[in-house]
């Protein structure tokens, strides 16, 4: 399978902090543990003899498949984090993400309406933050997660300054 990137060539991408993998791992663990726990209930009940249906193989197969899928996603997390990148150009900001489903986004500075910085509990513990750009379009959804707090603040100031310089109407 040809793995040609969709990004425009000749861009020096800035990568997000590798510590962001931990944030994603925490999210992964929380979501999957709950799902697995719920799916494992029939297995426990069948094993303890409280339920006669479903058969043991089915009760075991469902959580096993889920576990496999979850492990597959787990293996992808470091690569997914590695695929997130951003680049500040003269007139616009580029953001890319994704391995299988790739997305490269360009947001002209003059189009930015406002910039958000947010941090969840895990991010905050690791000194990371998530930067979000808003334009007049709801479809933009420009997000750079896993920025070190200092870099996030620098980028926000930079974006605001550049946005002001190239301010355009709607």
């Amino acid at each position: 399978m040809p793995t040609e990137a969709i990004d425009p060539p000749g861009i020096a991408w800035l990568r997000v902090s590798p510590k962001y993998v931990t944030v994603r791992l925490a999210g992964w663990a929380l979501a999957n543990l709950i799902v697995l726990a719920v799916l494992a209930v029939p297995l426990v009940l069948v094993l303890s003899g409280a339920w006669t249906w479903p058969p043991l193989w089915l009760a075991a197969a469902v959580p096993a498949v889920m576990l496999l899928l979850a492990l597959g996603r787990l293996a992808l997390i470091p690569r997914q984090v590695g695929s997130i990148g951003y680049a500040e150009r003269e007139d616009d900001l580029l953001i890319r993400r994704g391995i299988f489903f790739q997305r490269t986004l360009v947001v002209p500075y003059g189009r930015m309406q406002y910039v958000d910085i947010g941090a969840g509990p895990v991010e905050r513990a690791l000194g990371l933050c998530t930067l979000k750009l808003h334009t007049a379009s709801a479809g933009t959804s420009a997000e750079i997660p896993g920025l070190p707090a200092g870099e996030g603040a620098r980028l926000r100031e930079q974006l605001s300054a550049r946005g002001e310089a190239r301010l355009a109407g709607l």
């Binding site: 399978m1 969709i6 007139d91 360009v106 334009t135 007049a136 709801a138 479809g139």
Partner: protein
Amino acid sequence: MSSCPPAVKPGWPGCDGSAVTEGMPDGAWLRVHPASPFVRGWVALAAIGFFFGRDTFERLLQGGPLIDEQFAGRAPWLLLGGGTLLLLTVAGYILTWYFTRYQVAAGYVRVNTGFLFRQQRQARLDRVQAIDIVQPLLARIFGLAELKFEVADAGESAVRLAYLRMADARQLRATILARAAGVADSPESPEAVEAPEHAVLTVPPSRLAGSLLLSEQSVGVVLGGVASVALSAVTENRAFYLYLIPAALGLVTAYWSMFNKGYNFTAAVSPDGIRLRYGLLDTQAQTLPPGRIQALRVSQPPLWRIFGWYRMQANVAGYGAAGTNGEGSARTTLLPVGTFADVLAMLSLVLPDPGTPDPVRVVTAGLRGLADPAGTPDRDADGGFVTTPRRARLLAPLGWRRNGFVATDTALLIRSGRWWRHLVMVPHQRTQSIALEQGPLARRFRVVDLVLHTTAGPVSPRLVQAGLEEGRALFEAQSARASAARKLQRSEHWLALPPVVEPVETPDLDKLDHRSEPDHRSEPDHRVQPAAKGQSNQKGPHHG
């Protein structure tokens, strides 16, 4: 205005004349028409009347005595209850009316509302995205109208004034537009004259009815009817038809609503922008100042191909994401149903500078064109459209010859759909952001999707399955074009510069050939405008 209610602080603007003249240089504080709360709240009044009057009314119908023993005991209570409720409602109406005041002055429109919870709102006039004058049936009977002032927040109208006298509403609209355009900003001439306008196209009711009969919905109706007849024949269940009654009622309502909204659709052009008027019982007049269209789509359902009809919808920042319900979708409709000539006429209004020497050919290709089946890049024959590469024809067996794009100097055109034909146009200076997207299957065929983000609305521009190289090149070129176009953007005061549109004379819709004007301007004027006399002095929003 003379007496100040005790709840109002002294010096409140509009409470006494002095405060007005001190704070605001011109423009008095005005109230909406006194009858408006009753026109708006007639349902509540009618409900109260119905609730308390029903007893007597039923008695009258049954021919019984008007007052009997049992009723005589209850009557005072009923009267008291009803009277109190009525009095409270009317008092509420009067208070709401009294405390609603508006003013147009110093580049702002201000509205104060609320009796217990005060609200003062001001909106900058040059931020206007659209002004609508709406007349629901009851208001129309009384000669009243509601004025809606839209700014780019994609939500509720920034300012809604319900109701004004029709003449006042039109005067106010003219004043707002004139000041927003930057022509009548002097305090000496506060009363602006309404900009002259010229009708460009109308939709005859017969065509509207025909378009509804041939719409997608009708196909569903016919299929559903056939299915239900077949089912009832097979199951021999005669009562089956009963279940169709609510469905039929719903359909009649839907068709009626579409007919009511689309009836007598008229588009006109004036220096203030495009004027759209429509409605059978409830009428609406929209004014879209120049350059307020963020994206537009021309589409054609399969059955409309018989008569060559098209529909046009647009994203306007102030209107927001319209649902499928009547008003919202009607407001974002630029043309409910029209011929190819109507489409061209409309395009010439919303996109005065198409940025290509032969716009008619490009639009024709965008609406009807198909790429060469052999996949040879003979793009000139196809209006310059770059389509999905032949290698991806398995991914889109029908659409690969249609899916394509062409970029003119001012806009990006994206076409798609073999049966449901769509042509989306996005002006370069209206693009908010651009994304390239690719999934695993698309990567195997080396194609990408390109998404243009615009403000909320019915149009969501997406170029599907463009070749990787073409898509990447377009992504780069488009972001460069978008920033270049934005740098050339004009002032918000669209008439403070050389006039955008002079009142045009009769547009001759028969002559659709593009005119290469031997004009005095340095830059050739390329527009979709159907050739018409007296347009040579019409300046498009050229940059400079």
